[in-house]
């Protein structure tokens, strides 16, 4: 690990698995997320709904562990928290067939995709999604052998203990295996890489002083306090 990596609390060892540090997210992969756009998806600047999976990268500086404080930048009132199921890759996945896709998955974990709310999805600045600590994940990797079905999981988000959002991965536009097949057609995923399946819409918003807990069937829960950054 390069010098300086100890600046972050994430050691990449999320028992019982070691993560590579590469985390890919998927946007608009839940019917409620794409549906919320309505007619706008057909208007400029988009012109048409997405054809291929809409992907983005959470770089290593964003990775954080359960309990880590998420800092709300000065001048920002609220952050958006997209609760996702993350696939942890176990075997090199290149051009996988849907029927064999899940054999390349070691297990699952919870991914909290934190963003500064932004209206346009055309060419958003990475400063909305790539800030330090904006991707808590954990609490552990639940092995695939535990029998979790990634396409039938309830994802619940609580703010200060109150349920504010719940959705099922049964409503994903591309279920896990379809997403893996399409992504690995052009982009190989390696052991320890994480591919988040995408959050449901509308993502809950959170303010300084609050604590967000994401609970996913069989994957445990991930809690993080949100605090204003020092000026």
């Amino acid at each position: 690990m390069p010098a300086g990596a100890d600046l972050f609390s994430i050691p990449f060892d999320v028992p019982p698995y070691r993560l590579s540090g590469a985390v890919y997210g998927t946007l608009l992969n839940h019917r409620t997320a794409l549906g919320a756009l309505g007619e706008a998806a057909h208007q400029p600047p988009y012109h048409a709904p997405p054809v291929a999976p809409v992907l983005y990268i959470k770089p290593r500086n964003t990775l954080a562990l359960p309990g880590d404080v998420v800092r709300i930048p000065v001048g920002t009132l609220e952050l958006e928290v997209g609760a996702c199921v993350g696939l942890v890759i176990g075997r090199t996945a290149c051009r996988v067939a849907e029927s064999r896709a899940l054999e390349h998955v070691a297990g699952f974990l919870i991914v909290a995709d934190v963003s500064i709310p932004h209206a346009s999805l055309h060419r958003p600045s990475i400063r909305f999604k790539a800030r330090d600590g904006f991707c808590p994940l954990g609490p552990a990797v639940t092995p695939r052998a535990a029998g979790v079905d990634p396409d039938a999981l309830w994802v619940r988000t609580y703010v200060d203990g109150v349920l504010v959002h719940s959705a099922s991965t049964a409503e994903l536009i591309r279920p896990a295996k379809a997403l893996l097949a399409e992504v690995t057609e052009f982009m190989t995923l390696s052991p320890g890489d994480v591919l988040a399946l995408g959050a449901a819409g509308p993502a809950p918003r959170v303010r300084s002083g609050q604590t967000v807990t994401i609970e996913i069937d069989g994957l445990g829960s991930l809690s993080n306090p949100y605090r204003e950054a020092a000026a």
């Binding site: 600046l7 988009y46 390696s190």
Partner: protein
């Protein structure tokens, strides 16, 4: 100092240009003392990359070429580890696409952690430089989270190398000529003095919201002159003081498709 990472005879090595007395001008000297020919080794990206950050439309002429006007903020996108490729490698052009192009770019490699770094101190955080050839396939461009990964994060489509050149050896990174040749013919030429957002600006901007770590790389964008490349084309990107980065375009068949 210029350093390469190469695979040779069963291991990965750091390599430097062989001493001037060596008859083969392009020979390499491995850290263990062996001298080998450039074509005997497999060239890897010259450093172990962390976060790979790339700039879109950072030369006024190229922005104009693509019909873009004024920008308030750099257009930044990120790349994953699977897209990286070394010198003398091959990059696949899928059958049926209409426009695949190279992009010759000055790459800045971070050497010291950078958080809230002022532009006046930016160069203190730079370890060195290398050349990038950041391929794009424009057929796959969609209007969601542009530029989408299917355009810009394809396997083996971000070529880095051949050398990581120490920052101390590049007197003025703000005045480096860039050139791309396709099959020996000059197709792209520019100079880093025409960057819209220069290196100090980029380090200050990026480090204002994300901590940059050693091994992180910033691909600073490409000037005008991108042209379509076809299987069999040899694409050579050259930057003053950094060497020549060679890549060959191949068809699907090479990848068993």
């Amino acid at each position: 100092m210029m350093r390469a990472r190469v695979a040779y005879a069963g291991a990965i090595h750091e390599a430097t240009p062989a001493p001037a007395s060596t008859p083969d001008a392009e020979a390499l000297r491995l850290a263990d003392g062996r001298v080998v020919a450039a074509e005997e080794v497999v060239w890897l990206p010259p450093f172990q990359a962390g976060t790979v950050i790339a700039l879109g439309l950072n030369y006024a002429d190229h922005a104009q070429e693509l019909g873009f006007k004024h920008q308030d903020e750099p257009l930044v996108f990120l790349k994953g580890p699977g897209t990286l490729l070394g010198h003398r490698g091959v990059t696949r052009r899928p059958a049926g696409v209409g426009f695949m192009h190279y992009e010759c770019e000055l790459t800045v490699v971070i050497g010291r952690p950078a958080k809230h770094v002022a532009r006046s101190r930016a160069f203190e955080h730079v370890a060195g430089y290398c050349i990038a050839n950041d391929y794009a396939i424009r057929d796959y461009l969609e209007n969601w989270y542009r530029p989408n990964l299917r355009v810009k994060n394809r396997d083996g489509a971000t070529v880095l190398g051949p050398w990581l050149v120490d920052a101390a050896d590049i007197a003025d990174p703000k005045n480096l000529g860039l050139r791309t040749f396709v099959n020996g013919q000059l197709t792209q030429a520019g100079n880093t003095r025409d960057l819209i957002f220069d290196i100090p600006y980029l380090v200050e901007y990026l480090s204002s919201f994300m901590t940059l770590l050693p091994g992180d790389a910033i691909l600073t964008g490409t000037p005008e002159g991108v042209v379509n490349v076809m299987p069999g084309d040899v694409v050579t990107c050259e930057i003053d003081g950094l060497g020549r980065l060679v890549n060959t375009i191949v068809a699907d068949a090479e990848f068993g498709r």
